[in-house]
Subunit: 105 residues, 2 copies
DNA sequence: ATAATAGGTAGGAAATCTCCTACCTGTCTA
DNA sequence: TAGACAGGTAGGAGATTTCCTACCTATTAT
C-alpha cells in the first residue's frame, strides 16, 4: 500500500501529472508517452518508477512493449485526505458569492 | 497564485500535513504548533515558509506572536485536478461491490 | 543467427530539501 | 531601559531528486 507521502510527492511533478493524464485514455507503451516530453527515455523511466512505487500506475509486458496503465486507487486516498478541508474552500466561495450579491446589476 | 507543483510538494511532507490538520481548529501561534513536532523551531519555520509560499497558510502578526491560519483555496485546485480520475476509483469500488454481491450470505 | 527495437539499470553532476546551530529583530515586562 | 520571549534568517551538512550518457536485457524481424 502506497504511503500518502509518496503519492503527493509523485504528483508534485508536472511530468508525472501529464503521464497520468495521458493514461486517462487507456494503457500506453513507454515510447508513446515519451513523445510528449522533452527528455531522454531513461529520465522518463525514472518518473515511471516513481509513479509505480506510489501505486499510481501499473506495468504489463506485451511482447517487447511494456504497457503502463493508470491505477487511480491512491487518488481516492488523496480525495479522502482533502475532505475535512472542503468546507473551508466552499465557505470562501460562499463568501465571494455573498459579496457579489451585495453588488446588484 | 500558487503553482500546482508547489501545492503538491508542500503536501508531500507529513509535518506540513499535520500543521494543516492542527489549523483546522483555528489560527495558532508557532509555539503551539511546535509542541507537536520533534524538531527545532527554525526547521518548523522553514516548513511554514513552504506552506506560505504554496498559499496554504497565511500569517498575521499579533503582538510578539504570529498567528498562522489555514488557507484552503489551493486545495480546491487539488480537488479540481482529481475530478477526471474520480470515475476510475469509483469504478474500482463498484467492481469490488459486484464481486461481493456474487457471494451472497 | 544477427540486427534492430523497447525499455530498463548504473553511476555521476547539479540542484533542492530538510535538518541543524548560531544569530538577528521585534515586542512585552520588571 | 534591560532582560526575556516569539520567531525569523544565514549558512552548512547530508540526503534526495532529476537530469544526463553509457550500457544491459529481452523480444522481434531479416
Amino acid at each position: 500500500m502506497a504511503q500518502t507521502d509518496e503519492v503527493f510527492a509523485a504528483l508534485s511533478s508536472p511530468v508525472r501529472r501529464d503521464v497520468l493524464r495521458l493514461l486517462l485514455d487507456g494503457p500506453k507503451p513507454v515510447q508513446e508517452l515519451a513523445e510528449h516530453f522533452d527528455m531522454r527515455r531513461p529520465s522518463l523511466s525514472e518518473h515511471l518508477r516513481v509513479l509505480r512505487e506510489a501505486g499510481l500506475v501499473s506495468e504489463r509486458r506485451s511482447g517487447r512493449y511494456r504497457l503502463y496503465s493508470l491505477e487511480a486507487e491512491p487518488l481516492r486516498m488523496v480525495s479522502d485526505w482533502l475532505s475535512p478541508y472542503e468546507r473551508f474552500w466552499r465557505q470562501k466561495l460562499a463568501g465571494l458569492r455573498d459579496l457579489l450579491d451585495e453588488e446588484p446589476l
